[in-house]
Symmetry: C2
Subunit: 231 residues, 2 copies
DNA sequence: ATCGCCTCAAAGATATGACGTATTCAAGTG
DNA sequence: CACTTGAATACGTCATATCTTTGAGGCGAT
């Protein structure tokens, strides 16, 4: 998942600093300064900067330096950018954006999954729904989080749409972030749990409309709760 | 938009070759071979490869080489990857994926726009809806395409969600691709045009439900038409 | 005083040689 | 046959040299 080697380490410090806004839009970095700051060679700095350039976080121009691009140009769907922003000061805004994205995508994915899921997918989905219920009843939040992430990722994957499928990790990051943010509340809401089972049953039974409706209830609920927390 | 310099030129050839499947998953490239093939130095090849690595199209391992990653790992939301796939053999699959994504996202964006759009947004949206109608009536497909792209991009931007906003260019690429694919059909459907005006009016009037419904009709219609064309 | 051109220097872009290091594959050994 | 070991390989990193672009300041003419 991570970028390897020294450029990766440069990236791990520079990326979050830019994505969080600590290094503001319009700021200019000099390659030579970065060499000194990280104690690495030109080669390494250049490769790290190239990757940031690929994400449109920075642009490099002769005679000027490496300038941080305006946020509106960033590749906000890049998993690394999302992770960096979730870890920094932009976290509330990023959670809100992702919340709306989930509301848009996950119901559609659930509907598609009802007709596209393989038999294995359906079996695993049922199984996950059961384990989810058990973990919730036992108030085992860590285990619950794991199953919840797996559940949503599976629905996205089972939709048969590769773009939806790739949002699985991102949704996982949101759920993790949310659990951390709430500082581990007592217990997942029983109603939300029942909805997860409903989604699983509807997908297994091929009922697209029902799957979509139940999933929409889940994600809109999550978004409302999020907005309450963030205000 | 493009990556500058020699790495950019390497990327322009290597990226499409990988994204289109011409260089298949699992294939191994050697840095030294690439130097010869493109007539550039190690530096340049390495930087280009780093960018591809950032998109998860390839992974570089010692003693092995640069291996093309399985498609399931690609950053399918990266605008460059999308463009490359739309230009190559993967075009039908990419259009289908994007079609479903549009169905999920654009209605949600329209609903949000109804409450989040600025006055300027609303004015411009109305104006675009009118110009769209005129261009359609005159069967001026090129002009129509331009306004259509601007219309959908504006709705996405006016939603106030940065992630939705960033799909504007992608949707534009889809619309362009669709127009090219159809080899310029006679005339945009009058019904679809009326729906665009409905979306604009609903957003201007703050009617989120109506905007969402009309937009959903537009994008589901586009998806159905696309599926007809691709079968 | 303003405009335009010219020169120079700053900073990235590219090329190249040298060396480091992980990884694979195969030969060798018990 | 399993395990160890060593050498070959291809990427990783560093250092240096040179090229290219471009911004800023100076200079002169109008």
């Amino acid at each position: 998942m991570e970028i390897q080697g020294l450029p990766g380490r440069v990236l791990d410090e520079l990326g979050p600093a830019i994505a969080s806004g600590e290094i503001p839009e319009g700021a200019v970095l000099r390659g030579e300064d970065l060499e000194g700051r990280f104690g690495v060679s030109r080669t390494v700095v250049r490769e790290a900067v190239r990757i940031l350039e690929g994400m449109r976080l920075v642009a490099s121009r002769r005679r000027v330096g490496i300038t941080v691009q305006p946020k509106s140009l960033w590749d906000v769907f890049d998993p690394m950018v999302i992770r960096w922003r979730l870890a920094g000061a932009d976290r509330p805004a990023q959670l809100r954006s992702l919340g709306s994205l989930r509301v848009a995508v996950e119901p559609a994915a659930a509907a598609l999954a009802a007709s596209h899921a393989t038999d294995d997918d359906r079996r695993e989905l049922s199984s996950l729904a059961v384990e989810l219920t058990v973990a919730a009843r036992e108030a085992d939040l860590t285990t619950f989080l794991g199953y919840d992430i797996a559940f949503h990722a599976l629905v996205l994957r089972a939709s048969g749409n590769e773009m939806f499928a790739h949002l699985g990790d991102t949704v996982g990051a949101v759920l993790t972030g949310r659990t951390e943010y709430h500082l581990m509340p007592h217990q997942p809401e029983p109603y939300a749990i029942r909805l997860h089972r409903e989604v699983a049953d509807a997908i297994c039974g091929g009922d697209a409309a029902h799957a979509e409706r139940a999933m929409r209830t889940i994600v809109t609920g999550a978004l409302e709760e999020l907005n309450l927390q963030l205000d």
